[in-house]
């Protein structure tokens, strides 16, 4: 092999290109997630999901332009304060292949697993939050937590696949008890224990590192440098693991509140407006104190039963019974309910953004995956099913974009999300929705 100009490549730090000589180490260290907590340790990236039934109204929510400078639409207005920290996805499609088109369910399955479900009410595979929790929840007290603002523990979209969902906490009090009741381990206490699996992995790496002694003798300089880089990567991995063996140093500037009172938790909008901020706050505190790194919040079942007291025609029936206004070309009452859902989403984001952490907020160090069951609820249409994402995954995801799907499968969004969360994944989903193409323009 010859050494010449071709060999010394013009490298870029963003790609996986080799560069000879120093300071290539700096180039290749992962700059994502370097935010430090008050104590100088890395802050983990968290993952959240937010489920709201019955979608949005296309003519009122899809922004006109694509890309960064889109104009806030009427239905995205409640989220205006977080616009720069969000990405919105329109034009995504669900391909059901040879599965039945389950009303109010096919869209949920597709958004949460990347594949169209073959059985009603069941997921054909692990949902996205569990796939991510498998990777990021190492060391946290709970692998994941789910909470349902409408008070039904069955309203959870977190599953290992099959008929069972991981049940949701159905009231603020039960969520509080789970998180901060007995068993709550204050991270500042001295009897904190690390995850034993991590220690085993460390031993593996030291054996791998030992190989170095044997290989380095008869190499050319260029191969020598490449091998050096390889072993530097091994070392990096060792350091990462060493960090995980230390107790979490997350000193979030938070105060654990006292237990909330008992209250009515149901689908009435005023109650939801009271319950959601409480549950969101508790979830945020749990994330901030590393009780968990995955928090799932839902405000309804698919085909949301949200209602305004005194109005018997609740959300779901409105979507079917309210006709399209011939002048406006949409359903005005349904549109109002869409906006209520977005207001609740904003309230959730507000709690995440209110906790300062390192150089930003908890929201900055998170990804929130907001998904729903349909695109146009009146006829259960799936074409254009919306996905809304908030947070920048500690800088790994670029934000402030409106992405137009142009008929891409909705699984592309989930794949992009998993890559931003640092998962080693090359494809996601199944059937015609199996995809290997994330939205690379969003991956930093």
């Amino acid at each position: 092999m010859k050494l010449d100009r071709r060999f010394l490549l013009r490298g870029t730090c963003q790609g996986a290109l080799a560069v000879m000589g120093l300071p290539f180490l700096d180039c290749f260290l992962d700059n994502k997630g370097q935010a430090l907590a008050a104590t100088g340790k890395r802050i983990p990236t968290r993952f959240n999901t937010f489920f709201y039934g019955l979608g949005l109204t296309k003519s009122l929510w899809v922004p006109k332009g694509a890309g960064r400078n889109y104009e806030t639409t009427e239905q995205l207005k409640p989220l205006e304060a977080f616009k720069q920290k969000m990405n919105v996805f329109s034009g995504s499609r669900v391909m059901i292949d040879d599965n039945p088109n389950f009303q109010h369910w096919s869209g949920v399955g597709a958004s949460a697993t990347g594949m169209s479900p073959s059985k009603n009410g069941q997921f054909d595979s692990k949902t996205i939050d569990q796939t991510i929790a498998d990777v990021i929840s190492r060391g946290a007290r709970f692998k994941s937590i789910a909470a349902a603002c409408a008070g039904d523990p069955k309203q959870s979209y977190s599953s290992l696949g099959g008929p069972n969902n991981l049940p949701a906490e159905a009231s603020p009090l039960s969520l509080y008890t789970r998180l901060f009741g007995s068993g709550f381990q204050d991270p500042s206490r001295t009897d904190w224990k690390p995850n034993p699996e991590i220690m085993l992995q460390q031993s593996v790496l030291s054996v791998v590192a030992e190989d170095r002694k044997r290989v380095t003798q008869r190499l050319g300089a260029s191969d020598q440098a490449r091998l050096d880089q390889y072993f530097t990567s091994v070392r990096e991995s060792e350091q990462q693991i060493a960090a995980e063996l230390k107790r979490p140093d997350i000193e979030a500037k938070v105060e654990i509140p006292t237990a909330p009172e008992e209250m009515t938790v149901n689908s009435a909008l005023p109650n939801m407006r009271k319950v959601l901020p409480l549950m969101a706050r508790l979830g945020a505190l749990a994330l901030a104190t590393d009780q968990t790194r995955v928090f799932n919040l839902s405000i309804s079942e698919p085909g949301s039963q949200m209602f305004v007291p005194g109005d018997p025609l609740g959300y779901h029936q409105s979507t079917h019974e309210e006709p399209l206004d011939p002048v406006l070309a949409y359903q005005p009452r349904v549109a109002r309910y869409n906006v209520y859902s977005m207001e609740l989403f904003a309230a959730f984001l507000k709690e995440l953004d209110a906790i300062p952490e390192g150089d930003g907020t908890l929201l900055d160090h998170s990804l929130v995956y907001g998904f729903t069951d349909v695109a146009f609820a009146k006829i259960h249409a799936l074409d254009g099913i919306p996905v809304l994402i908030a947070g920048s995954a500690s800088g790994r995801m670029k934000t402030g974009h409106h992405i137009v799907g142009e008929g891409s499968p909705v699984s592309r969004v989930g794949l992009t999300v998993q890559k931003a969360m640092g998962l080693s994944v090359d494809s996601w989903g199944g059937g015609s929705m199996e995809t290997k193409s994330p939205y690379t323009e969003l991956l930093a």
Partner: protein, 541 residues
């Protein structure tokens, strides 16, 4: 050569006390470390552990050098992000391989107790898999460290199989697995690959996977040191249907089909374009190439002119023909009137090197010159003004007219006259590969002159490439560079001259080229690294 010996003496000293690779003769040098590509990694794992093992992870991308991504495998390393992925994949594979379901199939010995260390069984397992993963037997040090690791892990976890898992994982993330370490030994007046390195090079070229048991045995018994031994293995590898896999990987690389990962088309102008269509177009091209090269053992020049192709339902809609649903893929023969000619007018070639909203004669020309004639085009100068070319409101209605403006500018002419004509002759097809005869209301002129030869349209281009001796020479060059993992622009023609001649003599049959090339002296010939003297300093770090 002299440098090599002095280095060898120096290194021998360092070697002492650290353990020696039994397969390496004295004076063996590592001449190349080729990082496994994603496909090579997957195929290797599939062959070693079985198809049931799921491999899920991110692979670092390669870079095209001399027209081939394979060449970059010899230059790139593993970043921390990449290693992280390899580490996780290693653990995942090891977990699956030692799971209860897989144990009976994959672990050939039973421990004395399922909760106690069993060094004998661990050693047997690591020897077996280590040999396949490292593509050579483990050194005693390498083996012992894994056995010790497994024993410790067993004690920590209380499970023999957990210990086995961590030992396997350490093999799977070792540089000796992730890189194809090619070692050369002195012979005659130069250096040549040692037996195990020969086995690996043959295996990855022909089957794109790790050497199978028979190849490893041939290496072990030194059968690969003789031309007869090599010929036996080459014949065996080429007779197998697995040759398709290897050649698919080659053609995929040479024809740059990975560009499809980045192709997007304007959905308003070309709503028919979809991710499914892109995948189909890629497969169409591979099928065409493989059928001609291997199944029909045909004249490779016909790749430029053949009217035959393969389509699925999606491609049928783009080509404007009915699909008969006999199978997922059916053969199609274009009529001469359809103006198609071999691979150059397949949707893949036409759409990969083209803009989202418009065709690009320049991009197509540059790509085809590079791919088929091994004549890459230098990058444009920094201060070029594209506005005149890209202005469709101009009195110059067709791209051709706008590009011709370059011919008058000496700074531009040298490159553009070099490659544009090829693209111009293909202007009868739009950016997603459909035929058209007008652009902005004006008839498209598809005549072209290149290197003194004039022709009209795609069929003229196909004929031009078919008759051009540079094309088969380029195929030989690319194949040679791919097999050796080197920059095709740096390879000297004389290294594969004999193979090229045999290619021509055989009527341009791929199989002849493969056989001749791999059985030539040059194929396993290696140059020791120039800066070998520096190794001593770095090694002590």
């Amino acid at each position: 050569m002299r440098k090599g010996i002095s280095v060898a003496i120096l290194t021998a000293g360092i070697l002492a006390g650290v353990g020696q690779l039994p397969a390496m003769a004295a004076g063996g040098e590592v001449v190349s470390m080729r990082r496994l590509t994603e496909q090579e990694y997957r195929n290797s794992i599939g062959d070693i552990f079985g198809k049931d093992i799921v491999v899920q992870g991110v692979f670092e991308p390669g870079k095209r050098i001399g027209g081939l991504i394979e060449a970059s495998a010899a230059i790139l390393s593993v970043t921390p992000v990449g290693f992280d992925s390899y580490s996780k994949m290693a653990d995942s594979i090891a977990v699956q391989a030692t799971s209860e379901k897989a144990r009976d199939r994959l672990i050939f010995c039973k421990p004395g107790s399922a909760s106690q260390p069993d060094d004998a069984c661990a050693a047997q397992t690591f020897n077996h898999y280590g040999r396949m993963l490292f593509r050579r037997p483990l050194t005693s040090d390498e083996l012992q460290s894994r056995v010790k690791l497994a024993a410790n892990m067993t004690k920590a976890s209380g499970s023999f199989y957990t210990g086995l898992r961590y030992g396997l994982a350490s093999l799977l993330q070792s540089s000796n697995f992730l890189f194809r370490v090619e070692v050369a030994v002195p012979r005659d007046n130069g250096y040549t690959l040692d037996a195990y390195s020969r086995a690996a090079r043959l295996s990855y070229l022909f089957w794109n996977t790790t050497p199978d048991a028979e190849l490893l045995k041939a290496a072990q018994t030194n059968a690969l040191d003789t031309s007869a031994g090599i010929a036996t293995q080459v014949d065996r590898l080429m007779a197998s249907p697995r040759l398709d896999t290897g050649m698919r990987a080659f053609f995929s690389d040479m024809l740059q089909l990975d560009n499809f990962d980045n192709v997007s088309k304007d959905s308003l102008l070309y709503p028919k374009w979809s991710v499914q269509l892109a995948a189909a177009a890629r497969e169409e091209t591979l099928r065409t190439a493989i059928t001609l090269a291997l199944h029909e053992n045909g004249d490779m020049r016909e790749l430029m002119t053949t009217p035959k192709t393969y389509i699925n339902r999606n491609l049928a809609a783009i080509y404007g023909v009915p699909f008969d649903f006999d199978a997922d893929w059916v053969p199609l023969t274009f009529t001469p009137q359809q103006g198609r000619s071999g691979i150059v007018t397949q949707i893949s070639m036409l759409s990969m090197f083209s803009h989202p909203g418009r065709s690009s004669p320049t991009e197509r020309g540059v790509a085809l010159m590079d791919i088929f004639l091994c004549e890459p085009t230098p990058t444009p100068p920094a201060n070029v003004d594209f506005s005149a070319v890209n202005n469709t409101d101009d009195p110059l209605k067709t791209v051709r007219e706008r590009l011709m403006a370059h011919a008058t500018n000496p700074a531009c002419a040298s490159c553009h006259t070099h490659s544009d004509p090829i693209g111009l002759s293909l202007e009868g097809f739009d950016t997603i590969g459909r035929p058209r005869s007008t652009e902005n209301g004006k008839l498209i002129d598809v005549s072209a002159t290149i290197q003194g030869k004039s022709f009209v349209g795609a069929q003229g281009l196909g004929r031009f490439l078919h008759d051009n001796p540079k094309y088969p020479a380029c195929v030989a060059r690319k194949l040679y560079s791919y097999a050796k993992g080197v920059d095709s622009e740096d390879v000297k023609a004389r290294e594969f001259k004999a193979a090229t001649k045999a290619f021509g003599d055989s009527g341009y049959r791929m199989r002849s080229l493969l056989k001749d090339m791999t059985q030539s002296d040059e194929f396993f010939h290696a140059e020791p690294p120039l800066a070998a003297a520096k190794t001593t300093k770095l090694a002590s770090q």
